[in-house]
Structure formats: C-alpha cells, structure tokens
Symmetry: C2
Subunit: 407 residues, 2 copies
C-alpha cells in the first residue's frame, strides 16, 4: 500500500481547502501510485491519536466539491512546533504512525511553521532512510513566505480587503461633517494585505487617502499633519493601517495605549489595537469625528470574495505537490514563479522547505511612496492579477453552504 | 411642471439605493404626472443650498442600474432634526425651495428621524395649504420601525450577519484548544439583527451556541456559567451579542468597562464595546482564550450579501410610494404587511408618518428562549423569508463596481 496523508496547519485562509481539494483530486487520479488518501485531523498534533479520516471512502463527492468554496480548515488545524533535536522521541513516534497507516506521501498545507515541520520530518526521514516523501504547500493571508512570488490565500484576502475598504469608504462618505475612518488590516510585520487596500480606489482622489505599512516608520506627528492635509481635500477620509505599524524606534503603535494608566478594575493592562489607539488620538488632538474598523478574522475567514485566480492556483499547487512527490521529491515547498504580469502567467517550482521557515518577506521600500503614506504603481501591477475572477459559492436557504466534518 | 424630489437620510444600508432606484424608475415611468426627477444631496440639509441633482438628465442609465447593488447612500445623507414648532422659519424656507424647483412630490428614504421629517413637512404643508405631497420610505438595518412587518435594509444586513457568523464559526473551530469568540452585532435597543445570527447554524448543536439580545436582561454570572456549560460540549464556542445588551438595572454592559480606573494618558475615559469587555472578562475569570469580533459598519456597508427579497421589496416600496403620492396621499410612510410566511407573501400599505417616529419596535419576549440565550423557532420563521435570494454585483478588474456621484 502507498497511501497519501494530507494535513492543514496554522491560521486558515479562504483557499486552504482549495489546496486540500487539489491534493485529494490529484491523488485520487493517480490510481497506479496511490491507494488511499487520508486526512490528518488537527495537523501533526492529530497523528499521535490516529485522528485520521479516510478521504477516499468517507468524503462524499458533494462535500469534496464544496471544499473549494469552504473557508476555514476542513481537517482542522494546529499550532505545533517540532523539536529541533531530531533525536527527540517524537520523530520516531510520527514515523511509526506513518508506517502503521502505510503513508508514502505526506503533504502539509501551511505557513512558516508548517514548512519548518515539513523540513524537519524530511530531514528525519533522510536520517533514518525512510522512503516517506514530505512536501509543503504554502498558505498565508500575510503573503510573507520567501522564495515564492505569492502564497495561496493572499489573493482572496487582498480581494476581500480591497472590496471591503471600497464599501467602508462609500459608507463613510455619506455625511458632510469631517470624519476619519481608520481601517485596521492584518499584518504584524508585512504590509502586503494593507497595500491591497489601494485597489479599493474607484477614481483619482478616491479613498483610502492614506495607507500605512509596518515597513515604513510611523510618526504620530506626521500622521496628524497628513490627516489634516487630507481633510482639506475631502470631508470623509479613510486611512488604512497594518495592525503592526511601528515608530522609528520599532515600538508598535498598538503598544502606545498600554501604559500603566490604562488598566481595568482587575489591574490588568488593556490591549488596544493600533486603529483604536489612532481613533482616540485623532479625537483628542484634532477634535474631529473618528472611527476605527478592525477587519479582524473576517479577512481570512470569509470566502465570499474568493479570487478565482487564487483558488485555481491553490488547486494547482496541490496537483503539483502530488506529482512532484510521486516523481521522487521530498523536503520541498511548492513555490510560485511569476512568468509575466500582463498577460499574467505563473509557473510552479520546488524550493527546499528548510530555506522557507523562520524568514519573512516584507514589502520592498521602493514600493512604498508618498512619504510612507501610499504604495507605488509597481505594487498595484503586482497585486492586480492576484484578485482576478470570482467563484460561485453554492447557496441554500439564502446562505452559503460549506463543507463540515460530520463527526 | 410637477417634479419629484427624492432624498436619503440617516445611516446607509445595503438597499437604500434600491429604494432610490424604485422611486426614480417609477417616477420616470409616470411621464404624464412627473416632469423631472430631482435628487436631494445630503438629505434635507442639502435643500438650503440647492444641492439638487437632475436625475432625469444627469444620471446615466448605467449608473442608474448600478444603484441596485451599490451600498451607501448615493445622494449622501444627513442627521438633521426639524424643529417641533411649525412656525420656525426653516419650514417657509424649505417650501420656498419646493416652489422654486416646482416640487409636487417629495420622497424621503430613512428611519425614525426621517419619518419625523416627513411628518413635520406634511403637517406644515397642510397648515399653509401647500399641494406638495410628502411620503416616507422606510430604511434601517435595526428593523425597529413600528407599523411595518420589517424594513428594507434589514434582510440584507441579517443575511450578512448570518453568513459572516457562519464563516467566523468555521474559522474559530479549527483548533482543539477551548476558546470563546464573541461577535458584537449592531442593535442598541432592538435585537433583530443579532437574532439573525441563529440562521448561521448548519446543523444541530452548531454555533452560535449563545445569543444575547438587549431585550433580555444580561447577567455576568449567568453568562459565565452558560459559557462554561457550552465549553463542556464544544471547544470552540461562538457567542453573539447585541452591542446594546444591558443588565437588569438597565446599565449597558459596554459601560461596565468605563469606570474611573480605565482612563488613558490624557485622562479621558476609554470607550470599550460590550464584546471587548466580555472578552477580557472571560480571560480574567475563566482563564481561557477569548476573542471578540465587532462586525462594525460592514454589516450595513456591505452589499455583498444583499438579499434579493430585500432588494425587490425596496424597489417595490419606491414604486408604491410614487403611485401613492400621485394618487393623492401625503404624510404617510410605506409599510409592509406580511400576508403569509410560507409561501412568503407581502403587501404594501401606508401608515401615518406621525405614528412611526419616536417609537422603537423591539423583539417580543416570547421569541426569546433558553433563559435569554437563544431565539425561538417563531423568530426563525419570521427571519428566513427576508434573506432569500441573491443579487449579482457587476465586477470589474476583480472588484465590485459601485455607482458614485461624479462631482
């Protein structure tokens, strides 16, 4: 028996199940090389308790098709870091399980930490001479993985952010009274997703008027002046910020609001987001109406603005992983190479998983412009192809239908 | 000349422009009775400066069609309360403008306060013997207007809430570690929109496990016990709350966090939402992982989950208003009468605007169950028809295209 095992790890995205769909369908198609396709519940954590689902037999065709438009991680996820020491008994345990389930190919869909897992497991396989082939499939809304043009999940999140900021800007512009709306977008260290808010603009001079990424040092006094300037031009100003914006000293703006004075009745420090902090700062200093909106988990949890390009690439990455593993590759992550921007063309490659983990790809300085308040045309050229095309989510009784594990 | 003037007021919804579309198309169709259709920019505030748009000539057919799926208020909005004293000179000023623009019919799309405006203007018209006929078209995401089964805008917001809570619940359920996600939904006094989160459930025992409305007194100690009970059954618990939940004494939960201890470095009180407060309360008292998500303006600003039923009813309310005004009615609001739940059937009626304003329709106690933690089947029967059907938003370059005023 040569079986496939596939798992998901880290925070979900709108297309992590599309990648899963790609692995499942490509594996099922290789009837000569693959016997059974198993799903690993809650990632590598689930293997210790044999939390394994027979996807060949127990996943209905209807549910399999629903995976493509279902957000979240169908198999469940985990945050689990394998020890650095390959002599740790956990490795022997995992490979015993691989043997028990006759796993020939293990696919792990995730971000940075998941590539660390893929790397360590393949290193252990090499060490003990195990034939199990292990490949990583990229996934993140942050788009911060290195050695790939972009990652599945990012395009859909970018589309969600751009469309939602466009809607928020329209909502914000209905009154004549000067007001600032701050939209806080995911991205602790990398501003890719916040940069996508620039796509929201429908015309010259449209909102968002100001965009701040973690890659450019943020100054409260510059911010105040920039907002005042914008209010001269437009009564409704929309500002998009990354949750991780920081000042020249490297202090996160969200930490500003957490001094000793800001404690609750239990004496605990209150955590305030950067958006909330800046909202209150503007009210205090400029005496204007300000509001903050945190897109929160919706930007990664929603599949309503799935990018068809993103979905198709996620599925293709699954097929590429299966084909590569069967062709003998291991210890690698599937990466994307952009062949051209227009017409947009992509090819797939493999890159050692060891060189992916523990690194972050940030926005290049030359793609940030306007004294750190905007992104350049190069950024837009990079972003545009990733949000193209729409999927159709099956609806029933007025609501989107999603696949869920029935046990 | 007999002209139509139409304006929008209050907070926007996903279909306030559908109502506008209904007024415009119905007016344009009555060529014998209506000469020009004018749009009033920023509601009644705009009339003093003649901020009036010729919709007959200057609104392209393309933009007119785009209105149906465009969120926000195309004409802009205002929050303006007319004085109670009909002898106030502001009334004469408004009717001078009506005369100048040869307005025969004035339609005002809005909520409570807008019906107050419609009422007062029609009372003034009667007082001076003006033939201008004034009708109100309902609009609110809160669904709290009296003398109508429901209001345009609510169905789409309810659909957005149900779909988004379903997505958030899926996202929250990927890990095995016990965690509570609190979703804060609009509704200061009426829990209709929060009740719609019950539609998110895909199967028996699905999230949201707890739903709290402002109509049922909220107790922190009961809440703690109810959350603990739920965590016995499910590791990922989703709780939906109205922003306006309050305790038995009538104190808003969002006020709990605003004691003297909670001040920033400027000495200002910090405003914390009920969701954020309960998140921190659970972390403090149960020592578990908790997170809060405020749906914020997105629930009224997004048109992505427009309910086709809602859109069609909004358009129909516009046509009904135009026909009613031409038939001689004034000082009334268009209301909805539910003829039957299944098959769902609706009829339209007129109700004196004077009896709409300054009242709020809240959720009946008998539709709240589970000791104030859930809503009844009657509520679901009421809600279901309102979210049925989907619209198709025109997309370009990967993003929704919306109508906007080009000046």
């Amino acid at each position: 028996m040569k079986n496939v095992l596939v798992g998901q790890s880290g925070g979900p995205t709108a297309v992590i199940n599309s990648s899963l769909y790609g692995v499942i369908t490509a594996s099922l198609a290789r009837t000569d090389e693959v016997d059974v396709v198993y799903g690993l519940i809650n990632g590598i954590e689930g293997i210790f308790e044999d939390r394994i689902l027979n996807l060949s037999d127990d996943l209905s065709e209807e549910d399999r098709e629903l995976l493509v438009t279902t957000p979240g991680a169908y198999l469940g996820s985990c945050r689990y870091k394998l020890p650095s020491d390959l002599n740790d008994p956990v490795y022997a345990l995992i490979f015993e399980k691989f043997a028990k389930w006759e796993i020939a190919y293990f696919f792990y869909i995730g971000g940075n930490d998941s590539m660390d897992t893929a790397h360590k497991l393949s290193a252990y396989a090499e060490k003990i001479g195990s034939p199990v082939r292990i490949l990583g499939l990229p996934k993140t809304v942050d788009n911060d993985l290195v050695h790939t043009d972009h990652t599945p999940g990012f395009g859909s999140a970018a589309k969600y952010v751009a469309a939602t900021v466009r809607e928020i800007a329209i909502d914000a512009s209905v009154y004549t009274k000067p007001a600032v709306t701050i939209v806080e977008i995911m991205g602790r260290h990398a501003g890719w997703l916040t940069a996508a808010s620039a796509l929201a603009r429908q015309f010259e001079g449209d909102n968002p008027l100001l965009i701040y990424l973690p890659e450019a040092p943020f100054s409260l006094s510059d911010f105040t002046e920039q907002v005042k300037d914008c209010l001269q031009k437009k009564s409704a100003v929309v500002v998009c910020i990354s949750e991780g914006i920081k000042d020249a000293d490297g202090t996160f703006i969200c930490e500003y609001g957490q001094g000793d004075a800001l404690v609750d009745t239990f004496g605990h420090k209150k955590l305030t987001g950067a958006g909330k902090y800046l909202e209150e700062y503007l009210i205090d200093t400029l005496g204007i109406k300000a509001r903050s909106v945190e897109l929160n988990v919706c930007q990664r949890a929603s599949s309503i603005y799935q990018s068809l390009t993103d979905v198709n690439e996620a599925i293709a990455s699954g097929k590429f992983a299966v084909d590569s593993a069967i062709n003998g590759h291991t210890g690698m992550m599937v990466g994307f190479t952009r062949v051209s921007d227009e017409p947009y063309a992509l090819s797939y490659h493999l890159h050692p998983a060891a060189e992916i983990c523990n690194q972050e790809r940030v926005v290049p300085q030359e793609w940030i412009c306007g004294d750190g308040t905007d992104v350049s045309e190069e950024m837009l050229v990079y972003l545009r192809p990733l949000i193209q095309g729409e999927t159709v989510t099956p609806m029933a009784d007025g609501l989107p239908q999603f696949a869920y594990r029935r046990y």
